[in-house]
Amino acid sequence: MTPHKDDEQLQAWLQLQRELQSPATTLDRRKLLRLALVSAATILLPGCEITERDNVQSVLRQISHFNDGAQATLLDPGRRATEYAPSQVTTPFRFNAFYSEASVPEIDGNTWRLQVAGRVARPRDWALTEIKALTPMTECTRLICIEGWSAVGQWTGVPLHHFLQLNGADIRSKYVAFRCADGYYTSIDMASALHPQTMLAFGFSGADSLPDEFGFPLRLRIPIKLGFKNPKHLVALTVTNDFTSGYWEDLHGYNWFAGL
């Protein structure tokens, strides 16, 4: 808020108060019209800045946190996202990241490793060939971006529940957290991690490897959550009881659960 705008708002308030306190609230149309305009000005003057005020932002984030709980309650672990035929995929598939397509990290698949850590019986680093040797699944599902757009894609990968089991993960833990080669990070609830459609994807559109812009060499594909909960270029997976939130959640206050 600039001081100038504060003044305008104060004046609008005082004017509104005067209008409401005037003794004869008669059926004077001109007065009513003025009252309506002054009220509208009072509401609109704070404009876009109201969201950024500390007390407003604090309340909004508390409600968003409440919505995390509400969504966890709504989640039916057995309900599957709609699957499509390979002929229904969206081409070209849309690129999206917090940087432009030219800045996509280039990773050497031979030296790349996925570090598995946290509440697992056998913490270790996985090579790409080892992950690709596991029994894969292939599914065409709709990726829905928080911005509103959506695109159907075909992904191949290892079911996350199977991968967690292989690493001896304690599935009573609350979260699975991910770190990426580009600095991105996010975390998901255990129930969503164990969903049968959630996978560590290494293949796209029938090919057995991911294009750089869609997350080479490994990404999370979770069709029961919004697009930004599908981290690309994974380098670490941690099973944990510590809440570590995510990149967009910390930066701008996106809702953490982001379930579909």
Partner: protein
């Protein structure tokens, strides 16, 4: 004096309360919805940025998914009270087909004629349509918010992309209604004041003294 008595009657307190809570929730949903729409517009290149609430997409989503609880909670209470009090039946479901044409003609000739506690057929149909549109907006909103958990709704509206457009059409219709509603309220200040809980300052002169 009976004339004066009738015209100073205010809408029941619960009507006034749910009405103004709904105004707050609906306007918040509308303006934050415009900001959300601007993140990925489809039919109109941009909704007015001056009026959009939230500053940018993250803030707008916070407002939208906070106000939805108020809109739905207040709406559920309003519909329950409309049914229990009999107001829905007596004021809105009482459209008589026999006089429909005459009432429509009357409305076109004098759109502002609106006695307390009475509705003509056009007003009854408009308010019923608003109730239906609000319900459609809530259902299509749920279908967009949870296209997996509430896929029954998403599929009913023709899939995710189609549900977004249904939600847009509902928003536009309700926005246009609100615009007309505000214009008519300003042109009929006695009704606006009554909804604000202010008893109109009626002339003490009755028909006898005229």
């Amino acid at each position: 004096m009976s004339n004066t008595l009738a015209s100073t009657t205010l809408p029941p307190l619960w009507v006034r309360i749910v009405h103004w809570i709904n105004v707050f929730a609906f306007v918040t949903m509308l303006l934050s919805g415009w900001q959300i729409y601007n993140a990925d517009p489809f039919w109109i290149s941009s909704m007015p940025k001056m009026l959009a609430l939230g500053g940018s997409l993250p803030g707008a989503l916070q407002w939208h998914f906070a106000a939805m609880w108020i809109l739905v909670g207040n709406g559920a209470i309003a519909i329950a009270l409309l049914i229990v009090s009999g107001r829905l039946r007596t004021l809105y479901l009482s459209i008589r087909l026999r006089t429909l044409r005459a009432e429509i003609r009357q409305f076109i000739e004098a759109p502002l004629k609106h006695e307390h506690g009475q509705r003509n057929a056009v007003q009854k149909m408009t308010y019923l349509a608003v109730l239906l549109l609000l319900s459609m907006e809530v259902l299509s909103g749920l279908g967009m918010w949870k296209p997996v958990q509430f896929q029954v709704l998403t599929n009913f509206f023709g899939g995710y992309e189609s549900t977004r457009r249904v939600h847009f059409v509902g928003m536009s219709s309700l926005g246009l209604f609100m615009l007309g509603h505000i214009v008519l309220a300003i042109l009929s200040p006695q009704l606006l004041l009554a909804m604000l809980g202010i008893k109109p300052h009626t002339q003490t002169t009755t028909e006898k003294s005229k």
